[in-house]
Amino acid sequence: MTNPQLIAAQGLKTPEYQSKAARRLPVPPTVALSIIFLVLLAAATLRPTLFTDRSPISNQLDQSLQPPSAEHFFGTDRLGRDIFTRIIYGAEQSLTVGLFSTAIAVVIGAGIALLAVLGGRYADEVLMRFVDVLLAFPTILMALLVVAIAGGGTTNIIIALAIATVPTYARLVRSKALEVRRSAYVEAATVLGVPRWKIAVQTVVPNSIGPLLVIATIGVGTTIVDAAALSFLGFGAPEPAPEWGAMLSQGQNDLALGWWVGVFPGLFITLTVIAVTVLGRWLQKKFEGRDS
């Protein structure tokens, strides 16, 4: 299981120093920029016509491979489609896959972890052994196996990446839940005679799930990259659907003729992931105390 973002997220130090001007903002400037970028992406997902009135899929062969200009901000691809327009329409694909896939993985992962923690030693041993086995497979290979069985396409990519990341979340929630179970407030509840199931529902679950949501935010970023990678490899939504990873793999044949086809879609993947990661790390710092 390779997930540098998630591993990194567990041991972070962020700068404590802030200028006077920065302290007046409710959030640090980098976080503010990230939020603005993500809001714009969300707007592009919901209402792409706000940003462009062109079509992302209609070919204009007389406009083939035009360099960036006032008319085509990011240039055009081989089929004369406006790259800016395709990027705007592609936001939906990236955000949808990132959010849905992570959500499914978190729910299943948390379910497995809570079963393991609350189900006694035997359930814990069996479930966690199973999770460890799955952790031996790199995320992208696991997702590729699912794609090999079920075929490509958006839905299958969501499922494939969810399956591939479930073990990471199961491990994370389990360690969090164990921590909560050992905490003083659970001990207090036990001493007060609160029934086991009630402690589980009222205390262990909410206290384990909060931090998980923060980690999941960062996980959305990683999933967006992995989804783009699967599309790049040719297993995403079929042509002519605008998808950032697929745009790069189609553009790869034209790099000698126009650099722009290989630059802008990748830039948007990277900016999206940076924005999600900055936001996630900030949330983590905010909710998990100053010194993690």
């Binding site: 992208i140 196996l145 090999a148 040719g234 790099l255 630059v263 940076i274």
Partner: protein, 312 residues
């Protein structure tokens, strides 16, 4: 010490068998969940087959046995490192992997060295600093962790192959064709290493022996490299399995961007051709290698760090 090593080996061996059985189970389900008749996939021609011929093929590959029998046969087969044969070419999967292993290992090894070099530089230069040096460290780490490797590859191709013409666009020939793919594969691994090395170096620089070295008047850079880095390396080594997984997974993408020969290519062709035994075989191979790497790391750890040798 002997006892500890034996304990580790035993625990790891059990773990390895568990991973292999788990992976084999996964593989078995994968093969049988795939839509379509495996017999037809084996023969490679759809529809044009008499019932008699179909039964012969099924019998030859054991596909006429009950599923439970097939399952145990498959797990046993995997435990003896027999990964089965390709649906398409009929070649043994282990042969397909071993024939293409060299270019992938070459790429992974080069990337690993590069990643360590990059991470060393960034960590030594930015750990425990303030202001712009700290900012460079954070920005490098965040960017390296966020940027998709296929985009790095494309950017490198645009600049160094198409504009400057320094490196070939694709292929496996010579050292020059290895440079861009290795850099591409190194970046995400470096991101992970920078995180760990920076943190490790910051912890090490708080230690009394660093203070002692500084009091003796040692140069700051010397202190960081000679005293700090050694300590920072241990936690980085623990991530060996994860790094290895990243290299294998990443090589699939890098080999596709640069049109290189290797395991990743075998895997991609197999997925396109729905050649599930090959897909499962590559996955099993990756999982097995992950376990082996982790075992070596565990043993190395005991050998490097004397504190772990104290019998429990």
């Amino acid at each position: 010490m002997q006892r500890t090593l034996l304990q580790i080996l035993r625990r790891r061996l059990i773990g390895a068998v568990a991973v292999l059985i788990g992976a084999a189970t996964l593989g078995f389900f994968a093969i049988h969940l795939t839509p379509g008749d495996p017999v037809l996939l084996l023969v490679g021609q759809e529809g044009a087959m008499s019932d008699e011929a179909r039964e012969q093929v099924a019998a030859r590959y054991g596909l006429d046995q009950p599923l439970v029998v097939q399952f145990f046969a498959y797990v046993l087969q995997v435990l003896t490192f027999n990964l089965g044969s390709s649906f398409r070419s009929g070649l043994p999967v282990s042969q397909m992997i071993s024939e293409r292993l060299a270019p992938t290992l070459e790429l992974a090894f080069a990337a690993l060295i590069l990643a360590f070099l990059i991470a060393f530089l960034v960590a030594v230069f930015t750990a425990n600093t303030r202001g712009w040096r700290k900012a460079i460290g954070s920005i490098t780490e965040l960017t390296a962790a966020s940027v998709p490797s296929f985009w790095i590859g494309i950017l490198l191709l645009i600049v160094f192959s198409f504009q400057l013409g320094w490196f070939p666009v694709f292929g496996n020939e010579g050292l020059r064709s290895l440079v861009l793919p290795a850099v591409t594969l190194a970046v995400p691994v470096a991101a992970l290493l920078i995180q760990v090395l920076r943190k490790g170096l910051e912890d090490a620089l708080d230690q009394p022996f660093v203070l002692a070295a500084r009091t003796r008047g040692a140069h700051e850079t010397y202190v960081r490299i000679a005293h700090g880095l050694r300590h920072a390396l241990l936690p980085a080594i623990t991530l060996g399995g994860t790094i290895f997984g990243g290299l294998i997974g990443g090589s699939v993408i890098v080999e596709s961007v640069f049109n290189r020969d290797g395991i990743g290519r075998v895997l991609l062709l197999a997925i396109e051709g729905r050649d599930i035994p090959v897909v499962v075989g590559v996955l099993l191979f990756a999982a097995l290698a992950f376990v082996v790497v982790n075992t070596i790391i565990d043993i190395a750890y005991v050998l490097i760090d004397p504190r772990l040798r104290v019998p429990a």
